[in-house]
Symmetry: C2
Subunit: 139 residues, 2 copies
């Protein structure tokens, strides 16, 4: 059986997880990739190389982030946040987000903490501004 969890519980699960699955629309088709992220208030921050997801989100800003905690087939919770993509380009916000991403994900190398332009690739920090959340769990 499946039951809805309330928005507060869904947000708590989004806060707790560190890896989620980002959904976007690429060339008209759904596209999903795992991402590490941090949640702050109504903002999900992600650090990424420019690639398929960033290109897709630049074309169509609608995005979602799905997270779950699956203990077994009988014990699980899943939450999803829907929102819009925005690139973080303002230096003060970018520095703050990168320092917090580095605190949570220390594997980010220093070179990733500054804009890099190398053979056409570059590192971006982006935000999903949350518009609504929902969640379900076993019951």
């Amino acid at each position: 059986m499946i039951a809805r969890i309330n928005d507060k519980e869904a947000r708590a699960l989004l806060k707790e997880c560190r890896t989620g699955r980002l959904g976007c629309i690429a060339d008209g088709s759904p596209y999903v990739v795992p991402v590490n992220y941090i949640l702050q208030d109504d903002k999900i921050y992600v650090h990424s190389l420019v690639g398929q997801k960033v290109n897709a989100l630049r074309q169509d800003s609608r995005a979602c982030l799905q997270v779950d905690e699956i203990v077994d087939d009988y014990h699980w919770r899943s939450a999803i946040a829907f929102g819009r993509y925005r690139e973080v380009t303002q230096q003060a916000e970018r520095d703050l987000v990168i320092s917090e991403l580095l605190a949570r994900f220390p594997f980010l190398t220093p070179v990733e903490s500054v804009p890099v332009h190398d053979g056409g690739s570059s590192v971006v920090v982006f935000c999903i501004q949350i518009e609504r959340v929902s969640g379900v769990a076993d019951s």
Copy 2:
């Protein structure tokens, strides 16, 4: 660093996993849900109650299934299959799929193995017919 894995490796990962994240488009926005599934040749089979994902896929058949194996931040693989949604309504195919789903996911109760109409809900078996796959891994 990230490197592409070839289609054979991507398919092997899709075969190996049992839980994936299904991406679809619901009311114009990306939507992602965790699902248990089986892969047979070019077909991903999923068993579900009628709900948001089935309603969305009935409107727009484009779908993807993303799976991953994340050991830690340095050791991971991710694969994605893109395809089209089709409901499995032909009795012989449906019976075969349900018996194989039950073999892999024994928590499915017998009542779920037959069409159920209960207060408007019903159980569907659907297939994502794979059109292409891709994958990435740490390198």
